[in-house]
Amino acid sequence: MSLTETAQQIRRRDLRIPLGAVLLVIALAAPFIGSRYVTHSLIIALIFMLPAHGLNLLVGYTGLLSLAQAAFFGIGAYTAGLLAVTYGTPFYVNLLAAGLVAGAIALPLGIPALRLRSTSFVMCTLGFVIIGQAIAKNWISVTRGDMGLSSIPKPHFALGPLSFTVSGTMGFYYLALAIGVLATLAVWAIVRSPAGRNMIAIRENETLAESVGIPTWRYKLIVFMISAVFAGVGGSVYAHYLTVVSPLTFQMYYSTTMLIIVLGGGAGTISGVVFGSLLFVGLTEALRITPELRMIAYGLCLLALVFWFRKGFSPLINRFWDTVGGAK
């Protein structure tokens, strides 16, 4: 008996830490390996990963399908752009402000929207994107309308006598990578906390979650706000990278892209979102696929996800981690 037990307990070695180290080295070395355009593609993927992480908390963990992510992305981009252009505030201030403003706006929007169920909620969140675009277009005294904001400065850091500007693609890559890693760790912390468990409970069965004392409504509202913070931060990095913001930031295109990253990569897994951003945004950008072809591909992916691969890449990713983690 004891023999068989020990035999069963022999597990393969846990390779997660060495694997993480290897991935980190690859990530750090990437700009030296690939061309400048590849680095640019990776930056775009890292930027889109931020709102996608937020959306994953909402769709993958709490079970709320939302299209509002582009609205908060746009709000973040405009907040950062306006602060930088009008007041000349530094990058990290704009980044925090963008996250906070998006999160704060999510509160009054979330309170009515989250009372709606399934399709109604989707339509309502879609409405936020369209109305956001209308405001950006027509509130000309602030947003400059269709012209948008331009010459947003590149990130500049000053620490005592040290000061430097992140201007090149390579510099920006490391900045985006640092933000991306921090965001991924933040999502990891949220998901691993007891609150993360409650979120999954809400996704699985809302009434049952209520009956074991989980205040589902407040959790949904908080997660909606957190997802908006991620989108807002992403928007601010986007604004500083492109140095321009226009009303077209509020577009279904962006919501769809984020949805594809999350659902395709594997909703409810963190590594799925990282993988999804690289595959659906990084790769399509690097291959210079025209926007139309990319959208057609996204559309076909959505259909495939609905009818054939309900879970996207998440079963593969889970199996991968199980193997790497040493489980049999």
Binding site: L126, G127, I131, A134, T256, M295, I296, Y298, V306
Partner: protein, 290 residues
């Protein structure tokens, strides 16, 4: 002053008729499928492109282009219906949202890929103005009004008396029972879907001479306007949709004149959000459909 308001209201009714013909298809599809078709505006766009293509490339007359536009949309709708819409019977609401969003992306971008993303000039139609009761109204607008009335009378008769109409009502009331009674649910879904798409295409072809310009992204805006209408009308409610479309058309027309043209397209979504908050079951019914 008074006559301007009246003129705007008449314009609004014409716009409302355009919306009504599109929206009624969407609301019927919701009725049998319990899913919102986020691609519905794309069939409006397909119809318009079919007509534009047959006028510009094939040199057909406007009358013939109406037929070509609607028929080509029916072909596309048949394929989409067989491959996608029929699979959505009994699927969760989220699947319907994602699948129809996917279709919208594919249809819209395929057209842009083939014909380019720019604006195109639509040259057909009856644009001679005629004067009725002191108003000057383009013939095309009168045609739209007449077709809209005919469509709604026809649908009302079909839903009440025809076999297909009856099975549509049955499916929208209780899918499970239909299977027991022997109604072929996927067949009803397919037919309803094709009918809805054909009506959207018809609406597109009729509106093209008034709008003059044609472009690949035009369907999305129509989808966005159809959503508030079908919610206002009460999902699945044909008559309610007619009045809701008129209300939105008139409201847009008045807002465009007295508030500003740039706010016209926001009216719909503001209405949508207000409706979802306060009267999710629509203006004309006290019972929620979902």
């Amino acid at each position: 002053m008074f006559s301007t308001i009246l003129e705007q209201i008449v314009n609004g009714i014409v716009t409302g008729s355009v919306y009504a013909i599109v929206a009624v298809g969407m609301t019927m599809i919701f009725g049998v499928l319990r899913a919102i078709n986020f691609a519905h505006g794309e069939y409006y766009m397909l119809g318009t492109f079919g007509a534009w293509f047959s006028i510009d490339y094939l040199g057909l007359s406007y009358e013939a282009s109406i037929v070509v536009g609607v028929l080509s949309t029916i072909v596309v709708a048949y394929v989409v219906g067989k491959l996608v819409m029929q699979r959505m019977v009994g699927a969760p609401a989220e699947s319907g949202v994602l699948a129809t969003l996917g279709i919208a992306l594919v249809l819209q971008n395929t057209v842009i890929l083939v014909f380019g993303g720019g604006y195109k000039f639509f040259s057909g139609g009856y644009i001679e103005p005629v004067s009725i009761l002191g108003f000057s109204l383009a013939q095309q607008r009168i045609l739209i009004l007449v077709v809209c009335l005919l469509v709604f009378v026809g649908l009302e008769l079909m839903v009440t008396y025809s076999r297909m109409g009856k099975s549509m009502r049955a499916v929208s009331q209780n899918v499970d029972c239909c299977e027991v009674v022997g109604i072929d649910v996927p067949q009803v879904v397919l037919r309803t879907f094709i009918l809805g798409a054909a009506l959207a295409a018809l609406s597109g072809v009729l509106t093209a001479p008034v709008n003059v310009s044609v472009y690949g992204g035009m369907g999305e805006l129509i989808t966005f306007k159809t959503l508030p209408i079908i919610i206002m009308g009460g999902l699945g409610n044909v008559r309610g949709t007619f009045f809701a479309a008129m209300i939105l058309g008139i409201a847009e027309s008045l807002v465009a004149t007295y508030v500003g043209l740039q706010f016209r397209d926001t009216v719909g979504f503001a209405t949508l959000i207000l409706m979802l908050m306060w009267r999710p079951h629509g203006l004309f019914s006290t019972q929620a459909r979902f």
